[in-house]
């Protein structure tokens, strides 16, 4: 027994050999049952793969303590395994108790497991059942829903039917009413007619009675004082068969005339309509054919080409058609061709419309390049119209002006017109002429004054020459060193005269009177005062050549007349300069003009 107890016992790690060895344990009569339970439980554990044995000979006490622990944890703390005295084997009683307890536990657990299994099976079957029923109910629900909708549909249709039937009923009622009213009106009409007829009948009867009663019968007769001639003046004719035939003939003639007139009118109308159709066809062909270069897409090109070619064909046909106007086929051909062209035109218009609508859509820009948008087109048209109007107006005004220019109404106006263009210039010319005349007069006056001055100068020159001669004479005669005291005085008198003349020469527009007075303010004194006597002497002695003096004089005449006052040859110089200046003056005067 001890050996047998020393056998390894483990619930967990048992393989087949050990199971069979454990099964060799002799136990209480419940052994078999235990065996079977063990078998069953062990068979359950057969699925475990080979584990290492739990207890070995060396690890008995650990195993025992471990088992005791496990037992305590399972609630079997009362049963504890112990080693036998001597430590060679286990105490059988606690081990068996433990075993028994464990078996009980196992049985309980098994039962529970079985119960759970059955429960689970039940549940699963329930679940299946429920699922089935669920799906069945779902189907049913679907089915009923469909039925419901079907019924609704049916109901709706029936409602519609009801409505239509009601409408029909209403209309039928209305019609019935109408018919009733018609019937009533007809009935009243019939009644009225019947009454009228009856009244007439009654009158007839009365008349008949009256006539039957009355014996005398008023004969109907005509009294004419003398027969009247026929309205057309002809004699009356007897009624013969020939007359009848003639009447028939006349009647038919009248009818025929009417038919002929009608036919003529219809023919005329027909030709007119045919002409219109031809025109329409030609127009349609012309409208469709020039669009060829603008065609877009292959399909449209093809169709247009076809159109053009067909159009040409039909034009040839048209000329032939004109010849056979009354022919039935020609008429049909014409109408067919018109219909064809019209269809093509319609297609083309539709295409254009779709293209225009595409163009108006903003995102399709590429296709809009060839066709201008409608707005732009309209603006362009408006602008061109304005331009055209402006040009026209301009042209009109130009024409008017040109007409006025080229063909004047009469001589006076022509003269006026021709005169008015140069009026401004004429005015200006007049103004300028006036100015010129004025200036000329002024210059004349000045020239006159100058000539007078020149004459006076000549006189004065002569006087001066005489004076000079006398003075020279005196000089020669009275050559003294005190001569310079007298000279300024005589020089002064001379210089005044000469400078007066000089001043006249130099100051051009200044009148001579002024120059005389002006010369009075000149400073020949000062000039002469500072003039050295040597120069005078030289001059008097004619040692200085005249040219230098002349040049001096000229310079002086142009710039400073004070230097000229010293010059004895002044008169001559003066004359020359006077002449030159006069000439220059005159030149100056003439140059502006």
């Amino acid at each position: 027994m001890g050996d047998q107890c020393g056998m390894t016992m483990t619930e967990h790690t048992l393989d087949a050999k050990e199971i069979s060895s454990i099964s060799g344990i002799t136990m209480s009569p419940s052994r078999q049952y235990g065996q079977t339970t063990l078998h069953s439980s062990l068979s359950l554990h057969k699925s475990y793969s080979g584990f290492s044995p739990f207890c070995s000979e060396h690890s008995v006490t650990q195993c025992i303590s471990y088992i005791n622990q496990e037992a305590c944890s399972l609630g079997l703390g009362t049963v504890c395994i112990d080693l036998c005295l001597g430590g060679e084997g286990l105490k059988a009683v606690p081990v068996l108790n433990l075993l028994y307890e464990l078996l009980q536990i196992n049985r309980r657990h098994q039962k529970a497991a079985e119960e759970l299994e059955t429960q689970q099976m039940k549940n699963s079957s329930d679940m299946e059942h429920l699922q089935h029923s669920h799906s069945r109910l779902k189907d049913q629900l679907e089915h009923t829903r469909r039925e419901n909708s079907g019924l609704h549909e049916g109901e709706r249709q029936l409602q519609l039917k009801i409505k239509t039937l009601q409408r029909c009923l209403k209309s039928e009622k209305e019609e019935v009413q109408k018919l009733q009213s018609i019937i009533s009106s007809r009935a009243s009409q019939y009644n009225h007619d019947a009454k009228r007829k009856e009244r007439e009948c009654a009158k007839l009867k009365e008349r008949l009675n009256q006539l039957l009663v009355e014996k005398r019968d008023k004969k109907l007769a005509i009294e004419v004082s003398n027969p009247v001639g026929r309205s057309d003046g002809k004699r009356g004719l007897w009624k013969t068969g020939k007359m009848e035939a003639r009447h028939e003939g006349e009647m038919y003639k009248a009818l025929l005339n009417d038919y002929e007139a009608r036919q003529r009118a219809l023919m005329v109308e027909n030709t007119e309509l045919k002409k219109v159709l031809q025109q329409m066809k030609r127009d349609m062909v012309s409208i469709l054919s020039p669009k060829k270069p603008q065609a877009r897409g292959e399909a449209s090109d093809d169709s247009l080409e076809q159109v053009c070619s067909d159009g040409e064909e039909e034009m040839c046909e048209a000329s032939r058609e004109c010849v056979e106007q009354s022919c039935e086929q020609a008429r049909e051909k014409l109408t067919n061709s018109i219909r064809q062209q019209w269809r093509r035109l319609k297609c083309h218009m539709e295409r254009l419309d779709s293209q225009a609508s595409l163009v108006s859509a903003p995102d399709r820009e590429g296709e809009g390049e060839e066709l201008i948008s409608r707005q732009v087109h309209e603006e362009e048209v408006l602008r061109m119209r304005l331009e055209l109007q402006q040009c026209r107006d301009f042209i009109q005004t130009q024409q008017q002006l040109w007409q006025q220019l080229s063909s004047p109404c009469d001589d006076e106006t022509a003269a006026l017109l021709s005169g008015c263009y140069t009026l401004e210039e004429k005015e200006r010319l007049k103004e300028e002429w006036r100015l010129f005349q004025e200036q000329k007069r002024n210059f004349e006056k000045e020239r006159k004054s100058f000539t007078e001055a020149a004459i006076r100068l000549g006189h004065e020159k002569k006087a001066f020459e005489d004076d000079r001669a006398t003075w020279l004479k005196n000089q020669f005669l009275t050559m003294t060193p005190f001569v310079d005291r007298k000279r300024p005085a005589t020089l002064e008198s001379h210089s005044t005269a000469s400078s007066g003349a000089e001043a006249k020469m130099i100051s051009t527009p200044v009148p001579p009177a002024k120059s005389v007075s002006y010369s009075a303010f000149t400073t020949p004194k000062t000039g002469s005062a500072c003039v050295p006597s040597t120069v005078d002497l030289y001059r008097t002695l004619r040692l200085i050549p005249e040219s230098s003096l002349r040049s001096q004089g000229r310079r002086g005449s142009r710039q400073d007349f004070s230097s000229l006052s010293r010059d004895l040859t002044k008169p001559r110089l003066h004359n020359g300069t006077a002449d030159c200046s006069l000439l220059s003056l005159l030149k100056d005067v003439e140059s502006p003009t």
Partner: protein
């Protein structure tokens, strides 16, 4: 407008001669003939009884005076005042009397429409035409006066006889497909005869001169039908007016309807011009290019009135006639084409317009009411 002095007359017998030179009036049993320009009495004739019907002959040489009560017709001559002619119908009675187009024959319709007697003034001969129909318009002469169409009824069937007015020779006699023929009318060109049925059946039949049926037209069934018809002067159009307040126009080539004109109570068409007489009693006149509705209200004191143009839409006052009475006063009752076939004047409803007459130039229209008259001038284009 200038008015002459008042002259007496009885029975509205006042007729101008066809050549427009004379005016004949009847006062009781006297016939007075005046000159139109001077209104001086030229002739005075005395008849045997009160004159109920007076008619000029087409050449203005004779005047016919019919005395229905006595069954007498007397014919007077203008050229020879002492020429006399008396036609006595005897016991058979007289219902209506008229001239033939040539002015030499008198057609008397006897009482109860038993027969039409044709009396010739040239040779005193008599012709009888049996069974003429008593209807709205049973006898019509063609425009050129060569043919006469007469509606007859025998054994509950309608017939038409076409006579040559020259010698009253029966040219054609044919049956018509009508229920109860109401009237016949020649087209102005004399080649087509329009025949219309009673108002209980809308039907127009078109026969050619030689009696062939050219076409039939029926707009609808059962409701009351045609009131009257009118040919356009060019014979191109036939206007049919009916009780449904519409006028339908047929064309002479296909005899199919080419136009239909309505007369709605609420005028809202933009092409219509509505003239309203501004006065105590408002009068509404509306005209558009091709049709007109006229209403003239009766007013005793109607001195001055003006016409103003109304703003559309205009509601025309409509009196609903008694539908239970026979021949109700609904529908278009008067039709008149202008001379150039340009305008059509119509009268719809129960308005008191008795006649619509166009001037021969086609530019103006005269509306005659019971106590009023109105002249309408159409806008004409400027003459270039």
């Amino acid at each position: 407008m200038n008015f002459s002095e008042l002259f007496k007359q009885t029975n509205q017998l006042c007729r101008l001669s066809p050549d427009g030179k004379y005016l004949a009036t009847c006062v009781q049993y006297r016939l007075v003939v005046r000159d139109v320009n001077t209104l001086q009495i030229l002739h005075l004739y005395t008849c045997l009884d009160q004159v109920l019907h007076m008619e000029w002959s087409s050449d203005s040489l004779f005047i016919l005076c019919a005395m229905y009560k006595r069954g007498l017709v007397q014919v007077w001559s203008l050229e020879q005042p002492d020429w006399h002619c008396k036609i006595d119908e005897g016991s058979i009675g007289l219902v209506s009397s008229r001239w033939s187009p040539d002015g030499r024959h008198v057609l008397n319709t006897t009482e109860f429409h038993l027969r039409v007697t044709v009396w010739s003034l040239c040779n005193k001969s008599v012709s009888y035409i049996k069974y003429p129909k008593a209807c709205q318009k049973g006898m019509d002469f063609s425009a050129d006066g060569r043919y006469m169409a007469l509606a007859e009824r025998r054994e509950c069937k309608d017939y038409i006889s076409v006579f040559v007015c020259d010698d009253w020779h029966l040219l054609r006699h044919f049956e018509t497909e009508t229920q109860d023929l109401a009237g016949v009318e020649w087209s102005p060109n004399g080649c087509v005869l329009a025949v219309w049925d009673t108002c209980l059946e809308y039907k127009v039949l078109l026969y050619s001169l030689d009696g062939r049926l050219l076409s039939t037209y029926s707009a609808y069934e059962w409701s009351l039908g045609i009131k009257t018809i009118a040919w356009s002067p060019s014979s191109q159009f036939l206007a049919i007016s009916s009780y449904d307040e519409k006028v339908r126009i047929l064309n002479h080539i296909t005899w199919k309807k080419i136009a239909e004109f309505e007369h709605p109570a609420n005028i809202s068409s933009t092409k219509a011009v509505v003239y309203r007489e501004v006065e105590k009693c408002p009068v509404v006149v509306s005209e558009d290019l091709s049709s007109s509705q006229i209403t003239v209200s009766s007013s005793l004191f109607n001195t001055q009135s003006k016409y103003e143009i109304c703003q559309l839409p205009v509601q025309v006052a409509v009196l609903k006639p008694d539908p239970d009475r026979a021949n109700p006063k609904v529908g278009v009752s008067l039709l008149a084409f202008s001379a150039n076939s340009r305008y059509l004047a119509t009268k719809n409803g129960c308005f008191q317009v008795l006649s619509l007459l166009w001037h021969c130039s086609g530019d103006s229209l005269i509306l005659l009411g019971k106590e009023q008259l109105c002249l309408c001038y159409m806008e004409t284009e400027e003459q270039k």
